[in-house]
């Protein structure tokens, strides 16, 4: 019986950052995956009608980023100083800003024409601007050859992996980091972090 139970759907989505934090920390947890057809029944019994949920110490935590920050702090993946923790949060928020529009056109927009139009705006305007920012943040930390913040991996770097997954699975861009060599190198570096590499080697494919 683990100290932690994660409840989410059978895919990456908003749950994956939590799984990556457990993986990097090499901490065991119960990874419960809810099939889509069971969700309508379960939804009403969740605190705010959504997933992921983390059950720990008799409590139910929700909101993926709040859960992630809680775990990351516990496992030493949140940044070592007060200022580093803020820097990590800034990177996470910046990545989240890049993800929010993807949800809008991949998941929420049902009109096919609007979907294509939104995707084009995203690819031509939104994304280049944000990736420039992200690369700039990385470069401001020791010339960008390490991690986003400080001198070790933090959950900001793990969240970056989630972003790239979304590019591949949802936006369907083939080489999203082509123009961003430092970000591309970071991506490879984070995938090689011990616990992360172990986890990725057995991670199953999913639609999202």
């Amino acid at each position: 019986m683990s100290d932690y139970k994660l409840v989410y759907f059978d895919g990456q989505g908003r749950g994956e950052i939590i799984r990556l934090i457990f993986a990097a920390a090499e901490v065991a947890y119960e990874d419960e995956r809810i099939p889509m057809d069971k969700w309508p029944q379960l939804k009403a019994s969740t605190p705010m009608g959504g997933l992921p949920l983390l059950e720990t110490q008799g409590q139910q935590l929700f909101q993926s980023l709040a859960i992630s920050r809680f775990l990351a702090r516990k496992f030493g993946l949140a940044g070592k100083s007060e200022l580093d923790q803020v820097r990590v949060d800034i990177v996470v928020d910046t990545i989240e800003d890049i993800i929010v529009p993807i949800r809008r056109f991949w998941h929420l927009e049902t009109d096919e024409q609007r979907k294509v139009a939104l995707r084009n705006v995203y690819l031509e305007e939104t994304l280049p601007n944000y990736l420039n920012n992200l690369e700039a943040i990385l470069k401001s930390n020791g010339n960008g050859d390490g991690f986003f913040v400080g001198d070790g991996v933090t959950w900001a770097d793990l969240f970056f992996l989630c972003l790239v997954s979304r590019f591949e699975l949802q936006v369907k861009i083939t080489d999203p980091l082509e123009k961003y060599p430092k970000l591309k190198a970071l991506y490879d570096r984070v995938k090689r972090v011990t616990g992360v590499a172990k986890y990725l080697s057995t991670r199953k494919e999913s639609a999202f």
Binding site: L61, F62, I67, F70, K74, V86
Partner: protein
């Protein structure tokens, strides 16, 4: 005491929570409000072309909730234990989700879609959401205290600020039928430092 400079437009929107936290903490800060006409100039000096920015002894922080969390943590308004901090974080994130829905509505250009969205928000989404917030509040001291622990935190302040902002934008008060939440908002707004700030803050359209 660090030198704080908060830079935003003359709006509540994404800076008001930060202002409220400084006020409650009794901490001095420069509340700089940028005229829209000056924005293109200021924009280049911001980390990512966005406001608010908080300068802390010259170090520039961005992302409104991250800034608010930093101030809350520094001045004892974030929760006392790690679990309390997580609870406060998740409640603030839920309030932010609601704000984002409202912003989405305001940025929708198609008029008929906009009306459809507003109807859905007022009749379905907001009531259902706030019912859940009422249940969440009741988990702690039966809803007669605060959202987290035994004292006011940024979760309560963020909630009250969110409700006030929604009403400012012309929505019906979504918590009118919810007694515990209504009492909480009143309690927050009656906090002497918040009451004083509300009386003296500049008026704005949003």
């Amino acid at each position: 005491m660090p030198q704080y400079k908060l830079i935003y437009f003359n709006l509540r929107a994404r800076a008001e929570l930060i202002r409220l936290l400084f006020e409650v903490a009794g901490v001095q800060y420069d509340d700089i409000r940028v005229e829209h006409s000056r924005w293109p100039d200021i924009k280049k000096d911001t980390p990512f072309g966005q406001l608010p920015v908080l300068e802390v002894d010259g170090v520039k922080l961005c992302q409104s909730l991250t800034i608010a969390r930093y101030v809350a943590n520094k001045y004892g308004l974030a929760g006392k234990t790690e679990l309390e901090k997580a609870r406060a974080d998740m409640i603030v994130d839920c309030i932010d989700d609601v704000s984002r829905e409202i912003v989405k509505l305001f940025t929708e250009k198609d008029e008929s879609k906009k009306n459809e969205m507003k109807e859905k928000l007022e009749k379905e989404t907001l009531p259902a959401h706030f019912q859940k917030f009422e249940e969440l509040l009741k988990q702690n001291h039966n809803g007669d205290g605060y959202f987290v622990g035994d004292a006011i935190t940024w979760a309560d302040i963020s909630f009250a600020n969110g409700i006030s902002w929604i009403c400012l934008l012309g929505f019906d008060n979504p918590i009118a039928p919810l007694p515990k939440l209504s009492a909480l908002v009143k309690k927050v707004e009656n906090h002497p430092k918040i009451e004083a700030w509300i009386k003296k803050r500049p008026t704005s359209v949003g």
